[in-house]
Structure formats: structure tokens, C-alpha cells
């Protein structure tokens, strides 16, 4: 470990640390444009010059290009170094416009900061500047090439880090141009990060243009709620609206970047249709009053039907506090629930949560260090976007990545795809497990487990069984294998089998890891706190049978459950009381007898548990209220003086719930973390909110040995020869509940289609572009066909789409007979 002196202060750093990083550890921020910790050094900008006074190198050196070495004595303040940097900035500014006041980056621009601090605020060069033509890059990123200082961060990020190739660097010399071959929307779903990493104003945030300067905003850290990974973001709010989001560094979760779904999913907070006033039977009553009435009516309902006639429903997007309070309420009052699994994948999530041992789980960042990764039943880019760049970093470090999934997976790097049909996924996993059982000395597992494992059918009849067997050898030979397992569309055996495999690998030697992908931002909390005995389907039946008469629904759109809409509407009509608490406008809020608006996670502090069991905290970014743009009707806001914030007469759902408990409420908690411990023992030792570490806390997860190695549970049963399996899949944009309300992302949402293997398509006389009429069991849809040979045979994939919501089945996997699809001819 080299020891060196920087500005007369000594520091010891690990081998291979650049001088610029060593200085940063001492709190000395050496100027930089091209260096970025995630992208490494290229020495393009020369602004990080320092002077080496003693040691193996002498004189002016680029601190991002030289490794810290023993005996180095470095000065960042030496007159020669300062002068050098000053000149570098001046010539970088030669072609750059001196017009920060009208630039969209002005106020949070690295170039502006260094120019001013380098004393180059007034320009000496009076000659003509080279100018460029800008390109249209889509709805998210604005382009102004004249501001470029050729640091290469953008291309290095775009091409090397995330693996997309539609943005590059063209030309040579002073004409160097960063852009696309042709103007057009950037293909990468991670394009927003360009805005964050460009040290000047070439790429700026298009949706927030002209909405304010950085100092106008209330800026707060937050956690993204648009998938289960829980990436870190910084929120900017102004005039009672969320205006913009940026990526926030997290050591363990997302590193430096986020996806565009997370960055631009926020507008649901600002929407005019968001419920802002409480209503009872269609009349506005005021928030407190509505809560009181709801409490009274629930109490009288309980009187008539008994407490079991009332049920509570939440969702995976509820904060942990709300989930905990729903459970507390149900427990205290003897009501049924809480049901969080309106998502059909919830059973898979429960298995995942019960199998995620503390010593097996890995964080998103740890995936980057894996050397062999098997992704099973997951579609990273479409389900949890930031997983894709993490996998790519592993690949760049030499890892093998294999995806076992029926969908036509695409990832921005080279990987092996095993397009195994859903019915064969368990058999595919069995091949891996069985090979492990054959190969490794597993005696310590006990006889039953070994017998069960050896008894696993070897699944040799599935396509590419040999390839899978060879994959096991790679897993076995790797030092850090990771099994990534999805829950959205996975058959029920898969999450357990993924854990078995990870565990067996661990016993066999390598430091194996396990990473589940879950459907919602707080699916983990939902799995911990839901009533496992009650499913949403059962609940609907019990309403139909008249057993359940009143329903409390917190932040959950029941119509997203996939239950036939007419059936659900009829069931809701049968209820004597529907109390809905929510911050988005949905069919469920519209169906409510009593509607209670609630605050979003931007307006109230909130906890959530990500897919690896990490509890994360978001403080409130702003105080909420009706956006000024709306209260002012586009004009100057009303000048009337008032003490409260218009449209803010509401609280967080969890603060409302105790009042619903009526005269004998579930009592509002004094100490949040203490009562969450009552709700579930795993939540007992959460730190106080002021002590919450930046990367949250990982829950201690109990070992659950009883569930292991029951691989004989899965049956490799007879397959119906002619049947087709319909998978209702996710896509990066347009399927996640909250971000699909974002007008910003509308343009990026793919239009509905159905994907099918060309050979299967031929059987129905279909080819790409044809329309097909499909009877999904839940309804009939006519969709354009997309053929792809990357999809499993006998499988149909329809990405979910708002326009199809009422016609797609509740189950993510449905077996259809061959007669369910046929070519839609023009006259039909």
C-alpha cells in the first residue's frame, strides 16, 4: 500500500489508486472534467494537473493518469500547476460560449465553476468560435454541442459503460462532434445519465427546461419507487411540484447512475387528476371529517357483520409504514388481511423472501464483481432496468452471463440466452441442480435432501440440455457465481430452486450469491407483512358471496390485479363500504364511497425495502400541495393570504389509518421503528430516522432450512402438445404502475404487440406485421405480430399495456389452446 504526501498531508492508499482519488480521500478536490470514478481515466482534458515535487515522477503530471506511489510528494497548489490549469481552462473556453446566464446548465455546471474559480471569467480571445448543429435526441435529453469541451465522458459512459452504440464521437480535431449518426431518440433507457455526467451544458434535462435554476429548487435525497431495486435519486421540487430528478451515488445499490424510468417516472405527483380533497358519497367533506366518518361507518359495519366482514388491502407501492399500519389495524380490529398481493406474483415474492438468507444475498453493486451469472425467469432490462448495466459491468470484467427465460431477452452486451418455455424452466433448473448433486460431496446436507436432489429428473428432454449442463461446469469453476431470479412471470417452483442452486454452489465451494428481482418497490415489505392465508382472488370471491361487506384499500389499484374488470366492478358494487386512500386517480378511487387523498413518498418521509431486504429511507422532498401552476390557473397565483398550503389537507396513509379504527383506534405510533418491530420481528432493530445510514440497513434474514431442497415438489408433467403459453410481460416504459402515468415517458412507451417464434407463426400463417386476433381468456385483442427467434417455442409474449389492461389475464402465465389465436384478416 503506497504512502504518499499530498499538499503536506500523508495518506496511504491501496495499490492502483490514482493520485486524483488519493487526494479526494484527503478531502482535496483536484479539478477534473474527463475523469469520473465510474468511467476511469483517459487524460483527455488536462485540467487535473498537479506538480510532483519528489518521488518517482517529477514536474507537472495529470493526477488522474498516475498511480499513487511510495515516496511521492505532490502539490496541488504549486504556482506552476495552478498556472497550467488556468491555461487549460482558458483554451477549453476558447470555443465555448460565454453565456452561462442563458445556458440550461448554468448554476450547476462544472465548467462554469472551474472557469470562475480559475479566474477565466472574462474572455481574452475575440476571434470566431467553431459552431455545431445540434441534434434532436428525443423527449428526455436536450443537445447543445457548442458547449462541448471534448472530455469524452458521454461516449465512454454511453458506449462502454451501458453498451449502447447510437451515440458516438464523430469528426476530428476542433470539429469533434458528439451525437448520433442521424438525429433521433436515444436508444438507451439510461440516457438521462448523460445529463448528470456531462461537465458542461451539452446534454441538459429537457422536461425541466425553463423551470428553475438549481438554487430555486428544494433538493432532497430520495429512493426510486419504480422497481424493486430502490436506486438513489435526488429530487428537485419547486412551486409545489416535482420538477426534476437526478441520480444520487449509492455505494451498494445503483452506483452513480439510474434508469430513465426512475428519472422521469415522477409526474404522478403533479397530475391535475390527482385526488386532493376527501369525499364521502361524492361530497367534499375535509380530510379529518372524512376519516371520522369512515371510522364510524366501519365500526357500524363491524357491528353488523362482525370484524371478519371487513378486509384491508394494500400494495407493493405502499411505504413500509403504511404496510405496517395496515397490519396493525387488521390485527387490532380483527379485520381480514392485509392483502398486498393484488399482484399475482406475490406468492413467488413470499418464497423469495423466505429463501433469501443473509449469507447468500448480494447487492446490486456486488453483481458487478461476479464472474458467472445465471439469470433465470427474469428480463432485467424490462423489469429492473439498472440490473442490466450491473450485469454488463460483470461481463466487462470477464463474467459469463446466461439468461434462462422464455422471453426474447435483450441485453446491451454479449450473453447466452436459453429460451426455455415456462413449463420447462423447472427442468432447466433441475439440470443445474442435479449436476451439482452428482458432482459435489453433499453429505452434510443429510440423507433426505440428498435423496431428494438425486431424484430430480435430469430434464434431458428440454432443448439445449447439453448447453445447460455445460453452464453448470462454468458455475462450478467460477469463484463468485450469482443466481439472479425473477418473480414476475416465474412458475412457482423457480424462486425456491434458484435458492437451492445458490446454496448448493455455496456448499460446493464458490462464494455463491443470490439476487431476486421483485415486482414492486416494496414487494419485500408486502411479503413480510401480508396475511399469507388470504389471496386477492379469494377476497373477491368472498365479496361476491357476501361475506366481506366493507373494504379499506390503501394505495392500491385493484383494477391492476388483472381480475376481469366487469367482475371486479360488480363485486365492488356489492360492497356496503369501500374506503380508498390514494394519491393517484384510479378506477378504485373513482369507485370509492369514501375517498381519502394521501401524500406521496415525495411529500412525507417514507421507508421501503428493496429486493435484497435493504430498508431505505426517503425524507420528504417538499411539503406538497396543489402545484402553483394549477392554483394560479397559469396566471400569477392568487394573492389571497392564507396560512395553509392549498391542496395539502391530507396526510400520509399510515397516519390516516389509525383513525379508521374508530373509537378504539390502532393507536397512532409514537416511536415508528419500535412499532414496526411489532408488525414483524425482522423490523425490530431499525435505526432511528436520524441515524439511518445512507445505504439503508439490510434486514437480518432468518434461515428457513425447512423449505430447502424439496426439489421433488416440482412435477415435470405431461405437456399438452398443442397448447400455447401466453406470458404477460413487462417493458421498461409503460408497464410499471406509477411511471406509466408519466407524460414525459409516453413517447418512449412501445405500442402493443404480440411476440412469437417465426416457426410457430408460420403454423398460423403469420409473419411480422400481420395482425393476429387473440382470445386471452380475459378478452379479445387484435395485435400486430412481431416474430423473433430469440423467444421460446410455443410461447406468446404480450408486454403489458394500458390499452390492453382489461383484456389481459390476471395470471402472468396462461395456457391457451391453439384455437385462441388466428390471423385477423381485413374483413374480419
Amino acid at each position: 500500500m503506497p504512502k504518499l504526501i499530498i499538499d503536506n498531508r500523508e495518506i496511504t492508499v491501496p495499490e492502483g489508486t490514482k493520485v486524483i482519488e488519493a487526494a479526494e480521500r484527503l478531502g482535496i478536490m483536484i479539478p477534473r472534467f474527463c475523469y469520473h470514478p465510474a468511467l476511469g481515466s483517459v487524460g483527455a482534458c488536462r485540467v487535473c494537473a498537479v506538480k510532483c515535487l519528489e518521488g518517482p515522477r517529477k514536474g507537472i503530471q495529470m493526477s488522474c493518469m498516475i498511480d499513487a506511489q511510495d515516496g511521492m510528494k505532490v502539490s496541488t497548489t504549486d504556482a506552476e500547476a495552478v498556472d497550467f490549469r488556468k491555461h487549460v481552462i482558458e483554451w477549453l473556453m476558447l470555443h465555448h460560449p460565454h453565456d452561462c446566464p442563458v445556458c440550461d446548465e448554468g448554476g450547476h455546471c462544472l465548467l462554469q465553476d472551474l472557469t470562475v474559480s480559475g479566474g477565466q471569467g472574462v474572455r481574452r480571445y475575440q476571434g470566431p468560435k467553431r459552431t455545431h448543429t445540434d441534434q434532436h435526441l428525443g423527449p428526455l435529453v436536450a443537445h447543445e454541442m457548442n458547449r462541448c469541451i471534448q472530455c469524452y465522458r458521454c461516449v465512454r459512459y454511453y458506449q462502454e459503460f451501458t453498451g449502447y452504440e447510437d451515440l458516438g464521437v464523430m469528426q476530428i480535431g476542433s470539429r469533434v462532434y458528439y451525437g448520433r449518426f442521424r438525429p433521433g431518440t436515444l436508444e438507451s433507457p439510461f440516457s438521462g445519465n448523460l445529463i448528470d455526467i456531462c461537465p458542461t451544458g451539452v446534454y441538459t434535462d429537457k422536461p425541466s427546461r425553463y423551470r428553475g435554476r438549481r438554487w430555486d429548487f428544494e433538493r432532497r435525497p430520495a429512493v426510486c419507487l419504480h422497481c424493486s431495486l430502490g436506486c438513489h435519486v435526488t429530487v428537485s421540487a419547486r412551486y409545489r411540484e416535482v420538477v426534476r430528478q437526478e441520480a444520487r451515488f449509492s455505494e451498494s445499490v445503483n452506483g452513480h447512475f439510474i434508469c430513465d424510468r426512475g428519472r422521469y417516472g415522477f409526474p404522478y405527483v403533479n397530475l391535475p387528476e390527482r385526488p386532493r380533497s376527501a369525499r364521502v358519497d361524492g361530497t367534499e367533506t375535509g380530510w379529518e371529517a372524512a376519516l371520522k366518518i369512515a371510522g364510524e361507518r366501519l365500526e357500524s359495519a363491524a357491528w353488523k357483520t362482525g370484524p371478519q366482514g371487513i378486509a384491508v388491502v394494500g400494495s407493493a407501492r405502499c411505504g413500509l409504514e403504511t404496510q405496517g399500519m395496515l397490519k396493525r389495524l387488521a390485527d387490532a380490529k380483527g379485520w381480514r388481511g392485509p392483502v398486498f398481493d393484488i399482484d399475482p406474483a406475490a406468492a413467488n415474492v413470499r418464497t423469495a423472501v423466505s429463501r433469501l438468507d443473509s449469507d447468500l444475498r448480494v447487492s446490486l453493486r456486488e453483481i458487478e464483481t461476479a464472474d458467472c451469472i445465471v439469470v433465470v425467469s427474469a428480463d432485467p432490462l424490462n423489469e429492473s432496468p439498472m440490473l442490466a448495466p450491473a450485469l454488463r459491468q460483470a461481463r466487462r470484467n470477464g463474467a459469463r452471463v446466461a439468461v434462462i427465460d422464455p422471453r426474447p431477452a435483450s441485453l446491451p452486451f454479449q450473453f447466452d440466452h436459453f429460451p426455455v418455455a415456462p413449463d420447462d424452466l423447472a427442468a432447466a433448473m433441475a439440470i443445474l441442480i442435479r449436476k451439482c448433486a452428482d458432482k459435489e460431496p453433499l453429505s452434510e446436507l443429510g440423507k433426505t435432501a440428498v435423496r431428494s436432489l438425486r431424484g430430480v429428473s435430469d430434464g434431458a428432454d428440454i432443448p439445449d440440455a447439453d448447453g445447460l449442463a455445460a453452464l453448470y461446469d462454468d458455475l462450478h469453476d467460477s469463484r463468485r457465481p450469482v443466481i439472479v431470479c425473477g418473480t414476475h412471470t416465474a412458475p412457482p417452483e423457480i424462486p425456491g430452486m434458484a435458492a437451492d442452486l445458490a446454496l448448493l454452489l455455496r456448499i460446493a465451494g464458490p462464494r455463491a450469491g443470490l439476487f431476486y428481482v421483485m415486482p414492486g418497490p416494496n414487494s419485500f415489505g408486502a411479503a413480510l407483512l401480508s396475511d399469507p392465508a388470504l389471496s386477492f382472488g379469494d377476497l373477491v370471491s368472498s365479496i361476491e358471496e357476501g361475506e366481506t361487506k366493507a373494504l379499506v384499500v390503501a394505495e392500491s389499484d385493484l383494477f391492476g390485479s388483472g381480475i376481469d374488470w366487469d367482475r371486479l366492478q360488480n363485486a365492488l358494487n356489492k360492497l356496503e363500504l369501500l374506503v380508498t386512500l390514494d394519491y393517484i386517480d384510479s378506477q378504485t378511487t373513482r369507485a370509492a364511497r369514501i375517498l381519502i387523498p394521501t401524500l406521496t413518498a415525495y411529500e412525507t418521509p417514507s421507508l421501503s425495502i428493496n429486493n435484497e431486504g435493504r430498508v431505505q429511507q426517503s425524507p420528504a422532498a417538499f411539503r406538497g400541495g396543489d402545484p402553483i401552476a394549477r392554483t394560479g390557473g397559469g396566471e400569477h397565483p392568487p394573492r389571497a393570504f392564507r396560512r395553509d398550503i392549498p391542496g395539502r389537507e391530507m396526510g400520509a396513509a399510515w397516519t390516516a389509518l389509525p383513525t379508521l379504527g374508530g373509537r378504539n383506534p390502532g393507536s397512532a405510533p409514537v416511536n415508528l421503528t419500535a412499532w414496526l418491530g411489532d408488525a414483524h420481528p425482522a423490523l425490530t432493530s431499525l435505526p432511528e430516522s436520524s441515524d439511518f445510514p445512507p445505504d439503508g440497513v439490510r434486514l437480518p434474514l432468518a434461515e428457513n432450512a425447512g423449505e430447502r431442497f424439496q426439489t421433488d415438489r416440482f412435477s415435470h408433467g405431461e405437456k399438452e402438445e398443442d397448447a400455447l403459453t401466453l406470458l404477460v410481460a413487462d417493458s421498461t416504459f409503460g408497464t410499471e404502475e406509477l411511471s406509466s402515468l408519466s407524460p414525459i415517458l409516453k413517447e418512449l412507451t412501445p405500442s402493443p404487440c404480440i411476440q412469437i417464434h417465426p416457426e410457430d407463426a408460420a403454423e398460423f400463417d403469420l409473419s411480422t406485421g400481420d395482425a393476429v386476433r387473440i382470445d386471452t381468456g380475459a378478452g379479445t385483442a387484435v395485435l400486430p405480430v412481431q416474430t423473433t427467434d430469440r423467444i421460446a417455442r410455443r410461447v406468446l409474449v404480450i408486454p403489458r399495456h394500458r390499452d390492453l389492461d382489461d383484456r389481459l389475464p390476471r395470471e402472468r402465465r396462461t395456457v391457451l389452446s391453439k384455437t385462441a389465436i388466428r390471423k385477423a384478416t381485413e374483413d374480419a
Partner: protein, 155 residues
């Protein structure tokens, strides 16, 4: 021929510059469409090809004349009189650097050192090097090329 070569290659992207050269040979220059065609041949993104095409002097992304004059502007030629020669060429052809004569015969472009420093100042026309140059020599060369063009152009 080209596609055979590509098929024979283990790693087609390594042939990308040759492929662009060949496509340019065929169409005269690399239009957007030609570039996309070349990209499809080697299985790369068009942007990746454009990065190279706009970097290399001898790949033309805009239409060029029948004779492309690359006048060396590197250090030796510059010392030996590049500037007056450039002015002479511009005047003679009635165009600026980077432009093409209206009759489509000549395009004038700079080039980095072509390894003809011992005969500087030098230029390259359709892969043939000329040097040491004087204004008179340039006039002669242009005349020869003009008559060559007149002879070979079917009237």
C-alpha cells in the same frame, strides 16, 4: 468478393475500413445510405462506422469530384511553401479548401503528411503522389487531368 472476405473473417468488424473503402469505391462517396449498407455488412451500428468515416481523411461523407486533390499541410510541406500553393490551387480552381468545382472535376482537401516529405511540398490525387510542387507543375497536372477526363468521358 467483399462478402466472401467478410464471411471468411472471424471478426468482421476488423474489416470495417476496407468495407467502407470498397463501398465508397462503388458509390463514389459514403452517403448515409451507403454507410448503413456497410454497417449491415459488418454487423456494426452505423454510428460506429460514422465515427471512423468522419475520422479518416480518405473516406468521404459528402460527394467529391472525379479527382480528389489532397494537399499536404503538415510541417515539412508547410515550411516548403504549402500556403502559396494552396492559394494558387484555390484561385486556379475557383474554390475554397473543402469544396468541389462546379463541373464536378476537382475536390480540394487537406491531408496530413503523406510520407513524401523528401519531395515536399506534396499532394495526392486519386492515390497518386506528386511532388515537389510548384505553381507551374500544378497547372500542368491539372491540365493533364482535364484532358484525360475529356478523353474518357463519353460525349
Amino acid at each position: 468478393m467483399l462478402s466472401q472476405q467478410i464471411q471468411a473473417s472471424k471478426h468482421p468488424p476488423e474489416l470495417v475500413v476496407d468495407v467502407m473503402m470498397a463501398v465508397q469505391e462503388h458509390y463514389g462517396y459514403l452517403s448515409d445510405e451507403a454507410l448503413e449498407e456497410a454497417a449491415a455488412m459488418v454487423g456494426m451500428a452505423p454510428t460506429k462506422l460514422d465515427e471512423l468515416a468522419t475520422f479518416y481523411t480518405f473516406l468521404y461523407r459528402e460527394p467529391v469530384g472525379r479527382y480528389v486533390i489532397h494537399l499536404c499541410d503538415s510541417v515539412i510541406c508547410w515550411m516548403d511553401g504549402y500556403e502559396p500553393l494552396r492559394d494558387h490551387l484555390c484561385k486556379k480552381l475557383g474554390i475554397q479548401m473543402g469544396e468541389t468545382t462546379p463541373d464536378g472535376l476537382f475536390t480540394l482537401l487537406p491531408v496530413c503528411c503523406i510520407g513524401y516529405c523528401d519531395r515536399s511540398p506534396a499532394m495526392l490525387i486519386n492515390k497518386k503522389a506528386y511532388g515537389p510542387l510548384t505553381s507551374e507543375k500544378i497547372d500542368e497536372i491539372l491540365e493533364t487531368l482535364r484532358s484525360e477526363a475529356a478523353e474518357t468521358t463519353p460525349s
